[in-house]
Amino acid sequence: MNSEKRFIGTFEKGSSLWGDAWVRLSKNKLALAGLGLVIFFCGVSFLTPWIAPYGYEEQNLVLGASPPSSQHLMGTDIFGRDLLTRIMYGGRISLFVGFIATAVALVIGISWGAIAGYLGGRVDAFMMRVVDILYALPFMIFIILLMVVFGRNILLLFFAIGAVEWLTMARIVRGQVMSLRKQEFVESAYAMGLPRHIIIIRHIVPNALGPIIVYATLTIPNVMLLEAFLSFLGLGIQPPQSSWGLLINYGVETMEEYPWLLIFPGLALSLTLFALNFLGDGLRDALDPRTSID
């Protein structure tokens, strides 16, 4: 009720959809905290090579595994490597995989959904049938299969995860496009003789952007979870590279003696997933109030 009233109020002042969405988002403390945390983690990851307290390969075998101290805020692992440094470098990979694989999923999903929704008819039926079939495939198993068969490299990981996550995006975009293409501004663009691909790229996709952004924000944590899951099984990121999933895997092996090696990487991953999920929920309420859960 309240937000609807405000919507009309700001509309009269002539604020844009985005301005209005921002007003709604900024009322959501949890989402704002999520946004802040996400920006913080991204900033730290970006700056890691310059601000990490120790070198990535730096060992201190004499020290060995030590609990958190003033020298090593999160302690050290069995080789005496600073855990904070390892988590910062691991976060780079985890976040990188999250964003890149989501981008892959976005590109495939948006193109597929937009084309199917815009062309409609038999093409649409066929393209959506493909999505239905792929939906029913056991993907976790397929990703494991891909990683086993073609070796464990990070490019394949992007491809495999991206190839899984585009399906829902395609459905969402198609639904949006179907409702948009009947509207007057699209028809007038068509009447003006604009080619189809220009209409799709210039007029339809930007108007479907709200749900796309919302879903993309919710896809990133899924992707990161998938990467961590694979790395935990030893099928994802390979040493000497590191990710949070891999650090958790190492932490589990020695958790009885050195629990901090499990707790801190776990905290980093959970906090990030938490932040992204709250941000995604907040964005959904702000940008696309009709599809929100409540």
């Binding site: 959506m128 239905d132 079939i133 029913a136 495939l137 056991p138 976790m140 198993i141 397929f142 494991i144 299969l145 891909l146 990683m147 086993v148 068969v149 073609f150 070796g151 944590p221 979870l225 961590a228 899951f229 935990f232 099984l233 030893g234 099928l235 999933g245 958790i248 895997n249 932490g251 589990v252 958790m255 009885e256 629990p259 499990l262 707790i263 776990g266 991953l269 959970s270 997933l273 938490f274 999920n277 709250f278 859960i293 409540d294």
Partner: protein, 312 residues
Amino acid sequence: MLRFALGRILQAIPVLLAVITITFLLVHSAPGGPFSADKAVPPEVLIALEAQYKLDLPLWQQYSGYLGDVLRGDFGPSFKYPGRTVNELIATGFPVTAELGIYAMLVAISIGVIAGVLAAVRPNSIQDYVPMSLAMIGICMPSFLLGPLLVLFFGIYLEWLPISGWNNMPGDKILPAITLGTGYAAYVARLTRGGMIEVLSQDYIRTARAKGLPEFLIVFKHGLRGGLIPVVAFLGPAFAGMLGGSFVVETIFDIPGLGRFYVQAAFNRDYTMILGTTVFFAGLIIIFNIISDILAMWMNPRLQSKTHGPEK
């Protein structure tokens, strides 16, 4: 209704064929043969091995042969466990995985539905915020983190529960079931809340209230049937997710289930095992998706008038 069920079953056939074909092609396009990892195999032995597993035939013959075998329910011999068939390995591992999955599902549904109903009855109160925040934690805490933390706390520090094994000690099934079920409990809670809030605002609920029915009956007798539809529709995908999750849980708790076999097969490059288990899992997931779709349809009379499934 019957037409819907039949349609869903017919739709499953191309899906299953696609699974078999894609898996088969993937496994056979792997660089290096399945025996190339074994050092110094004499060429004549290699030829004999390849003949034994029919790897010397052209690909399409291998494919049609495999398809025929699978249709007869025969997944062939295992590459890495000589003398054992994939069927035997599945028969050993699957009952364990299924038992784990059932317990985890019980955890997910009981906790999830109770939390979701509590939240929906008084939205935007403490009774809503606390379970929903816990649900968010449940979603953000992956099983491979939750499991070890539970082991650390309840197994090692408190020494209340055994930390690994299956059927060895009383109580050794509790931690795996909770580990696997918690994430889904969280999803179920969110779906229940959403579904119940919508249902409780309907006219027939108001009628029930006007009749003076006790709130308990309104919520559980009239509300739950409609409110649980999203949950029921989620059970199919949840089951698929649990199979994946069981890989991790079985690894953490050292449970001799199919998920652990699968991961081992993946590391050993046991191609027939990978192929067989993938097809088996896919078949199961497809069956569960159909069941959960049909159940959701049966619970929602409004959908039954349409010939097509929900959300096309």
